[in-house]
Symmetry: none
Subunit: 423 residues, 2 copies
Amino acid sequence: MRIEIICTGDEVLTGRIVNTNFAYISQKLEDVGLSVRWETTVGDDRESLLRAFQLAGERADAVIVNGGLGPTVDDLSQEIAAQAAGVELSLNDAWLGRMEDFFRRRSRVMPPNNTKQAMLPVTAEVIDNPIGTACGFALDIGRARFFFTPGVPRELRRMLEEQIIPRLLAKSGLQTTIRLKRFHSYGLGESHVDTLLAGVDALVPDGSVKLGFRAHYPQLETKLTVRGRDVDDVRAKLGPVEREVRKRLGNFILAEDDQTLEGVVLAELARREASLATVETFTGGQIAARIAHLPGAEKVFRRGVVGRALAEIGAAVGLAGAVPAGELSRETAEAVARAAREATGATHALAVLVDLDEGPDRIELGGTICLAIATERETASRRSRILGGREWVRLGAVELGLDCLRRQLQGLPVYERTDFEKT
Amino acid sequence: MRIEIICTGDEVLTGRIVNTNFAYISQKLEDVGLSVRWETTVGDDRESLLRAFQLAGERADAVIVNGGLGPTVDDLSQEIAAQAAGVELSLNDAWLGRMEDFFRRRSRVMPPNNTKQAMLPVTAEVIDNPIGTACGFALDIGRARFFFTPGVPRELRRMLEEQIIPRLLAKSGLQTTIRLKRFHSYGLGESHVDTLLAGVDALVPDGSVKLGFRAHYPQLETKLTVRGRDVDDVRAKLGPVEREVRKRLGNFILAEDDQTLEGVVLAELARREASLATVETFTGGQIAARIAHLPGAEKVFRRGVVGRALAEIGAAVGLAGAVPAGELSRETAEAVARAAREATGATHALAVLVDLDEGPDRIELGGTICLAIATERETASRRSRILGGREWVRLGAVELGLDCLRRQLQGLPVYERTDFEKT
């Protein structure tokens, strides 16, 4: 079944508001195994709306239209729906009564322009909106069934889940189940992972596993979309592919599905009733800011120290005068991490010290990162070079620091080489 | 001139990521007086891409296509662009060289699949991407000029502003000069500011000044778009409106145009050769992270301390045992700020202490914020309540802290009431 979405409204078309309704609708449909094939956004403009409805009506089996059901003059969905379907608008007495009730229950008198919300194409099937005055409706335009929904997110959500998705599933006759499996990694570029994973989707020969990526530096998301008859079939298909991805990406997988790197680190620390101190320079508090506010972090996050000068860092962790002001070294990072652990009583201390190159903020600008993780038993450290400008170095250093801590906590090597660094 | 946007990619079509690129492009065009008329989103699918290109090529004068320029097999923009334009793809040696350089400067070898990014339609005009390997390009499809841009936001932004908008303005033949004047404020809601500024655009009676807003909590951007014959005309029209906006929003304007709150704070501190220490609890390092990494901050940002427990904060600033563990008060914040100043030798210390309510993370959840700013001469402090859930409280507390510091530095009252707080 081919499904299209049409989003309407000048607010969305001009970018005044980011279109989160579309992403919501599309994800909800994906979750039940339906896919959106095409999305169109047009403004509150008769000609564009009519053309958008006609085009979608020629291509699709089902179309969800979002927005334009309000009481003001720029809300045009009912009018243009009637025009596109070649039918008249007429006042729906039942919905008018519902609206009057709605206002009465709130001790308000319905303004006259709300009457417009009860004007529906005569062939429309009413789709209930239990929490608002915008009346949803369905009708045929061209070869497609159109579903008209309100722009107010909570009204849309309720109508979509309770009314429209059941109608779409019935219309599609769909039996398949879908599962999206996600792996998050740090340190390998998209094309590198693409090469490493070549052929994994072919482990299920019927083409029902699809491999995809989403790069958002410094992390990369690897996605497997699996289709099957039912949950068991999906699980059986996913199993071997999932195992192969884990094997090939190995230690670089830092989290799966809805987990985050900072969440994994926090959970590892919480599990052993450990506590954390962080010391940062150029990352400027960004490492602390990833963890310290999370629910549960109040028991784990002990103290974060930020300073731009090594001497200041030294003073803050009780190493006054003992930190060499010269070139950054792994030894310095180790001394700082150990001192931070002692000064705060935390079981774990992470020190990420960055020596940013001099010069203009260009793509060639780099930074040297010396980081160390001190625990009761040992101090692990590594040195890295990241190039790519101030922001790139900063983001990379934050991720490298957190990921090394994750590796240390999971008993993995802290110093595996990444694609983003120069040694 | 009719402009359309085509967004591509399964990620966006399936709603896995919210399409912020589209809103960004559309707003940027609005800012220079151009309007988007139609937007289409399609997936990484040959048939849909071709049809979308053809339809837009029939309707529009200019089309911006976003995404699909990456190195992987699902990146299809160049291939389908060539097909839609009826031309061949060929290897662009100049871009290939640029990419090899790009990798060489990062001491990496270019993976073979990146070569694909240098395959361009033979009629394409290259559009430079100074910060990535995706090559932008322009070519004609149907009656429209198509501009192909990368999906990576920072690459898109740079290419749009430096390369594409000037080409669109030239193509549109817009003779008018346009200026976008922006004011950034914190503490007043959009409808409040809308009311406060009622009628300011009418100070220029010919309708050439347009007032608009962009709300991104906790800040609000107030925008004046001014059209005129030339720079002088624009300046003459803008002058009185600008002054009136400053007068009506007063102390709430924290920055203008490309300035940021943290940039203004840093500049004020740098101007008086001052230095800053920050102390944070639930904001978790976010206040430090706004300032400490900025160019020039290495001379100003002395030390940041983050802790979730008041006792830990006390220990970190040399007040061990002296910070009452009970209810948070302005006095505690003042004592902490003064101690932080003394412990670090900074001229200014900002302490933002948050007592987060107990309970589930719902819209009713709030936090009590006690903040203080200590200088050599005085200590200013204030207490606030912010409601709206964990994230809302955290973002609000960061902004409130930085804005109070801005106010202190500019000699303005630190304790003016905002729309976001409950007393």
